[in-house]
Amino acid sequence: MTFLIQQTLLYAVPLMIVALAGVFAERSGIINLALEGIMIFGAFVGVLFVHTMQSVPLFLNAARSGNWLTLQGLELLAMLVAAALGAVFSLLLSFASINLRADQTIGGTALNLMAPALVLFLIRILVNQNTLMMKTGDAASWFMLKKSTFGIDKSTNIGFLGETFLNKVYLATYICILVFVVLSIVLYKTRFGLRLRACGENPQAADSLGINVYKMRYAGTTISGALAGMGGFVYALTTANCTANGDVAGFGFLALAVMIFGNWKPLNIAGASLLFGLFKCIAAAYSSIDLNGDGVFLLAELGISSHLYRMLPYLVTLAVLAFTSKKSRAPKAEGIPYDKGSR
């Protein structure tokens, strides 16, 4: 059970945070199809930051002596850098779709096509191969929080909650959940959030009340870019051993699906990503999931082909989308460039 929860969280959290990135853009009226591209870029930037910082004596010594606070600091810094550069990358989309009033779908697609090419190009120049890895060690030994990190012996049982949420986890996971909660509140309970949402529903009305629609849309896409960039790095850190190779396994597009399936609402999105993460985890590890701890691997013994398990996350997404899409309601003004003159 512990294993299932932990692995589900690993898959669900990047999805959740990137889907929220989509919400911020779309609620402000910009379709951010470039989530995948920004994730790829963010993953690259974050990994590159870690890769570079690994030769700094401060962090190298911290890794040797087990000074985990410093290493968590490095992890946080890398998340920040990935977020910052993700935001910068998303400015390309904002500029094209807000100032130039270009088609947002095409702008986003262009970024999606550009990101992997650019990232691979840079990785090849930097390290002369197709994957950028950590300079030394692996993600788990540098950044993972374990019992031994806190000086607790491996064999001590620290209770179900402790084992699940404090052992073999990444701080990044919790930071993302925290950011998710805070930003959801911002979106619904603050003046800024209300204005942002107004710009995605009826920008003319918002403008008539003195809200700068352009600024709001810039804010929406920039927050979106920052979240997607951070999500990309978190994905790379927790599920890809802190490596970047111009690919995030389609998580950006999945996040778009999760966003639609969660009806552009944070709580539903959290649920949807957990559901998807759960099935993704089952798909990868069905043969060793022991639900009630009795030593019987039920899913493996059912004798169902592994291909079916691997299709499950996508089948479930399709099925749920089919049932919920009738009720789903996109922000009214999304995808329409705002023109002061038109009404």
Binding site: F3, Q7, Y11, V127, A240, T243, A249, S288, S306
Partner: protein, 376 residues
């Protein structure tokens, strides 16, 4: 104003591209450590005599490609020859055409001898070798093609797989795992795995213990690291698997990451991977770099080439007898099985006292002492 800004941006981009494109000129220098030799060198006449075509996966996989290329670099640097590597287009989805194009490019660039790594290059290599008869081809992990310009070199991977399996069980591990690349269609990986099972069985019989083994080809068809592989390996470790034989290039990354998180152990493949991760207990090595060097040396003159490949109809099989497979004794970390015991077993294999079945068995059946759990 906007126009000027746009112009500046374009200029900045163009300049940075130029800056990235210029590379340092490096002359080959005699060296004994492959890492000290640059992966890319610029020859004065733009010709590259020794070419290396990579297998699927990346050049710096810290395993098969890198190990072979290290041999190529060492040979070329010491012999003062120009060298270059080619990665077939298409990444891990490379087709035979992509590989043929890479070989043709190598020949066009002046290659006199082309080292091709990996059995998947067979079709492309056959085509290229027929076309460019005055170029010598060295086919690592391959087979002879009855052509006088192709040397097919293969290894008895089952022997080092056997030694690794034996070592793991002697060390006291009874729950083993095997994650192989190539989806069960790569003969070399199949032999590694089958040997691993036989070795574990023999050691279990000697120690009087029972061994369980998870055995899987999942998520390895492209030899790449993936999050699914990492999750699966983490699941195995959680359920008691103590050591996993990571048999396939970059797949090592995923297994080692899971091992590091779950405090498990890993057995490396092809080259000594103990430098990659502290979780590595030993590695099933084959002398790919060594073989590449020997073959390249043989390719220097027609006479030595003839002695090396014979009539070109038989593959050059390298095993324990040729000192081409084994475990790394320099970085030995096992305590339950000593280097001396290892050497004894190695000489037993050479002498034929211990025989390892090297047939292509992708899904080995359970034996008297090893319970197999094929995960598929």
């Amino acid at each position: 104003m906007k126009k000027i800004l746009a112009l500046l941006l374009v200029l900045a981009m163009a300049l940075s591209l130029v800056a990235c494109g210029s590379s340092k000129k490096e002359e080959p220098a005699a060296a004994d450590s492959a890492d000290a030799i640059a992966d890319e060198m610029t020859s004065s006449d733009g010709k590259y005599e020794v070419a290396f075509i990579t297998d699927v996966g990346q050049l710096k996989d810290k395993s098969f490609n890198q190990g072979t290329y290290d041999g190529v670099k060492l040979y070329a640097a010491n012999a003062g020859k120009s060298y270059k590597y080619y990665q077939p287009a298409g990444g891990d989805q490379s087709t035979d055409d992509d590989r043929y194009d890479a070989m043709k490019l190598a020949v066009d660039n002046g290659a006199k001898v082309v080292v091709c790594a990996g059995f998947m290059q067979g079709t492309a290599l056959e085509k290229a070798a027929k076309e460019f008869t005055d170029v010598k081809f060295i086919f690592i992990d391959g087979w002879a093609m009855g052509m006088p310009n192709v040397a097919g070199v293969c290894f008895q991977e089952e022997q080092c797989g056997y030694l690794a399996g034996y070592a793991a069980v002697m060390e006291g591990y009874t729950k083993l795992g095997f994650c192989g690349g190539g989806g069960g269609t790569n003969a070399a990986c199949d032999r590694y795995g089958y040997g691993f099972v036989q070795g574990a069985d023999a050691a279990a019989a000697a120690k009087g213990v029972k061994v369980e083994m998870n055995y899987s080809w999942l998520y390895g068809s492209s030899f790449q690291a993936s999050n699914e592989l990492q999750t699966m390996a983490a699941g195995w470790y959680q359920n008691g698997t103590e050591v996993i034989f990571a048999c396939g290039g970059s797949m090592f990354q995923s297994i080692a990451a899971a091992a590091s998180a779950e405090d498990g152990k890993v057995i490396g493949v092809d080259v000594d991977q103990s430098f990659e991760s502290p979780t590595v207990i030993t590695s099933a090595m084959k002398g790919i770099g060594e073989a590449a060097q020997q073959a390249l040396k043989a390719a220097e003159t027609e006479d030595s080439w003839k002695t090396f490949i014979g009539d070109g109809n038989a593959s050059i099989v390298l095993g324990a007898a040729q000192n081409a497979v084994g475990l790394p004794t320099a970085t030995w970390s096992l305590t339950g099985w000593t280097v001396d015991q290892y050497n004894t077993m190695l000489s037993d294999i050479v002498a034929g006292k211990v025989t390892v079945d090297g047939s292509d068995v992708p899904e080995p059946a359970s034996t008297a002492n090893v319970t197999m759990n094929i995960v598929k």
